[in-house]
């Protein structure tokens, strides 16, 4: 189907099903139970899952296939969101022109930086991309404040022109981003007994775009172009000796992955029309590297899993506080309850960084292939050893 072989089609369909059913899957706990704290099925986080999924998929096209480790990818996400917000300010609140411009601007920016950075390889390439991204951040935060909004971020105002759109709503407020009248923040809710599921328009727009992005990435992985990129990863020198110039291929991969980042940035601005300079800070670039490695670099689905994992930690674990802990353990005897709370407390709430650090270490120590390898091990365990050897790497074969 769609020009994919059977295995990839299955993978695409599974991902599509997961994404479509996410509002159910991410809200497994009834609303009034203690475990509802762990529900992630609210619009903002679901949008973040798929948007960072797109970002990580794009990053993986560069890193997973060519092995070039860009440490400045967040810059493209940043310029993408600035471009999108400017579209909202100047043209209209329709997300289509915003996203299109975001992708184009990020692509041009990537072409520029890629053209220079790809003259070097290995860590020299990483540092060049890092330097460009840090320069973008530093300038956006300070000198370029008139264009970027600086510290507070670029945001909409009532007196923005919005030439072909509505400038101010009837209620006297700034209009919200929409797709031909469908407002991104609108949701429908479904109540099933004690469960509550939210279906958000913005989320489904992002989800459809992510599926398209995912499909394109599968096609790239399976194309002759993808083969060429893998050849670059395994031995660039040998490739050069065959008389082949690898630069155009790496540059193309770099630009494509920059455009994915721009797409993610544009979508982020469409869901929440504000672009902050911290999006381009080196830690943001580091985050996408971590997402990709955590999930499994070079695999198709890994980066999406990694992105989901990190965003889940950031948004769910950080919100657990001491009061909530006491509620969890209230059934215990008093002394034991306090002991449990003080044991768990350093790892939640303001300690979520600690938990994240520990998970990074555990995953990379015990699952060198990332979460995907963890999934494969579990699958193999259930399938039994023999079957595992035949099917081996399953649907998510690493690039090498």
């Amino acid at each position: 189907m769609f020009g994919l072989d059977k295995r990839d089609t299955t993978l695409l369909l599974i991902v599509a099903a997961l994404v479509a059913l996410a509002p159910f899957l991410l809200n497994p706990f009834p609303e009034n139970s203690d475990l509802a704290q762990f529900n992630a099925g609210y619009p903002d986080l679901m949008q973040r899952f798929v948007i960072f999924g797109i970002f990580a998929i794009g990053f993986n096209i560069l890193f997973g296939l060519t092995g070039y480790l860009s440490f400045g990818h967040a810059a493209f996400l940043g310029v993408g969101s600035y471009a999108a917000v400017w579209m909202f300010k100047l043209l209209s609140m329709n997300i289509i022109p915003a996203i299109v411009l975001a992708v184009i601007v990020a692509g041009v920016f990537a072409l520029l930086i890629g053209f220079i950075s790809l003259r070097r390889s290995g860590i020299y390439f990483s540092i060049l991309t890092l330097a460009f991204a840090q320069m973008s951040f530093a300038l956006a935060y300070s000198v370029l404040t008139p264009i970027t909004g600086g510290e507070t971020g670029l945001q909409l105002a009532l007196d923005d022109p919005r030439i072909i759109g509505q400038q101010v709503t009837e209620g006297g407020n700034i209009p919200v981003p929409s797709l031909f009248g469908l407002e991104m923040r609108d949701s429908a809710e479904l109540a099933l007994g004690p469960w509550l599921f939210t279906f958000n328009i913005g989320y489904y727009v992002c989800a459809i775009i992510m599926l398209i992005a995912f499909y394109i990435s599968i096609r790239i992985f399976r194309s002759p172009f993808g083969m060429m990129l893998r050849a670059i990863k395994s031995n660039q020198q040998r490739l050069n000796y065959t008389g082949l110039n690898s630069r155009p291929y790496t540059l193309a991969a770099f630009v494509i992955s920059g455009m994915y980042a721009g797409l993610a940035g544009g979508l982020m601005a469409s869901m929440d029309p504000l672009a902050g300079a911290e999006r381009m800070f080196w830690t943001a670039s580091g985050e996408v590297v971590l997402m990709t490695i955590l999930g499994g670099a070079g695999t198709l689905i890994g980066p999406i899993l990694g992105a989901g994992m990190i965003k889940y930690m950031e948004n769910i674990i950080s919100k657990i506080n001491k009061t909530i802990l006491h509620e969890w353990f209230y059934w215990m005897p008093d002394g034991l309850e306090d002991a449990m709370v003080s044991i768990v407390y350093p790892f939640i709430g303001k300690g979520w960084h600690l938990t994240l650090g520990i998970i990074f270490m555990l995953v990379v120590i015990f699952l060198p292939g990332g979460l995907v390898e963890g999934g494969q091990r579990i699958a193999n365990f259930f399938r039994g050893r023999k079957a595992a050897k035949q099917e081996g790497k399953g649907t998510t074969e690493p690039a090498e």
Binding site: I127, A131, M135, L139, W282, L354, G357, I359, F360, V364
Partner: protein
């Protein structure tokens, strides 16, 4: 002219910190081939060794002073350090005052210990793994280390002053007979520079003039052959890791009077020190030192008002701009070797 001399001094001083961190980073990279993202955390832990020692020295018992009141109107509890009880107030004050220099002795065994444990317990298992995995695991470790420090010491900077003898500044102008008060420089920063020079010199001498150093250098060049000669290179590399950790830690200890340490100071230095290492050339110790001082001096010049007025924002980007220019004109940094980390 005075302004330029001052900025060169500033540059040398900043460069000292960059060079010390980059030196340790390169030692680890050159010997073990490991990209250590936790190196900034080692610098930070060094600084907190100084904080810890000054906390230990001022460990107190409470004496209730009925004559004074605290903010709630209760009798004030006055902390009396134990050192006062043992050595008398005067000697006690001197000991507390010299906490930072004393921490050097305190920090060396601790940092070597941490380094060795890190290498034996974690890094060793990552020699054969891709650099990306090394980055992830050491980055995770850095987060864990800094969160542990934050848990115990909070997020705010903690003032750790230099001994009174080093407060104040040295007047260069007056010393060479020029106008007084124009070229002055804080004593402690001069101490930092001298200290960095001594440490860098000692590391080079150690590698150059001792048998141990010779073996390590041989191991850096060709690990396999040295191993085939029957030399236990792994053990020596572990020691080198401990040494690199100690260098980072000492850089941190001595840095505390310059800027009050906080838990994320390691991360603040991390990216910068990587840029320094790469600009110097991967695996080159002299390159790391040279690049550290070079970037320190350029950064200082870029922050002068005359320069900023000419090119707005240059102080924000100078380090990265220089890094880009150097890497584009010299493919392997200033003194890098061919084929190191180019894949």
């Amino acid at each position: 002219m005075d302004a330029i001399i001052l900025q060169i001094l500033n540059g040398l001083d900043k460069g000292s910190a960059y060079a010390l961190i980059a030196l340790g980073l390169t030692l680890i990279f050159g010997t073990l081939g490991v990209v250590n993202f936790a190196h900034g955390a080692l610098f930070m832990i060094g600084a907190f060794c100084a904080v810890t020692l000054s906390r230990i020295l001022t460990l107190s018992h409470e004496v209730i002073d009925e004559t004074r009141k605290d903010f709630l109107g209760n009798p004030l509890k006055v902390d009396v350090p134990y050192v006062y009880d043992w050595f008398g107030q005067e000697t006690g004050d001197v000991i507390i005052d010299w906490a930072v220099p004393l921490s050097i002795l305190f920090a060396i065994p601790i940092m070597i210990g941490i380094g060795v444990i890190m290498e034996r317990g974690l890094i060793r298992h990552f020699y054969k793994r891709p650099h990306a995995d090394q980055i992830l695991v050491t980055f995770g470790l850095a987060i864990v280390l800094q969160e542990i420090i934050k848990y115990f010491y909070g997020a705010n900077p903690i003032p750790t002053p230099a001994p009174d003898a080093f407060v104040g500044s040295f007047d260069f102008g007056a010393a060479v007979g020029m106008e007084a008060g124009q070229i002055i420089y804080p004593y402690w920063r001069l101490v930092y520079f001298a200290f960095a020079a001594v440490v860098i010199g000692a590391v080079f001498a150690f590698l150059q003039f001792t048998t141990f150093g010779m073996v390590v250098r041989a191991g850096m060049a060709d690990r396999e052959t040295v191993g085939l000669l029957g030399i236990n290179i792994d053990k020596r590399f572990t020691i080198m890791f401990g040494l690199a950790a100690a260098v980072a830690g000492l850089a941190g200890v001595m840095y505390t009077p310059i800027n009050s340490p906080n838990y994320h100071m390691g991360m603040d230095f991390l990216v910068l020190s990587f840029v320094v290492v790469v600009v110097g050339g991967m695996g080159s110790l002299p390159g790391a030192v040279l690049a550290g001082f070079l970037l320190g001096i350029l950064e200082s010049f870029a922050s002068m008002r005359e320069v900023i007025d000419l090119i707005p924002g240059i102080n924000q980007v100078i380090i990265y701009l220089v890094a880009i220019i150097i890497l584009l004109t010299r493919p392997r940094g200033l003194m890098g070797r061919k084929g190191v980390m180019e894949e």
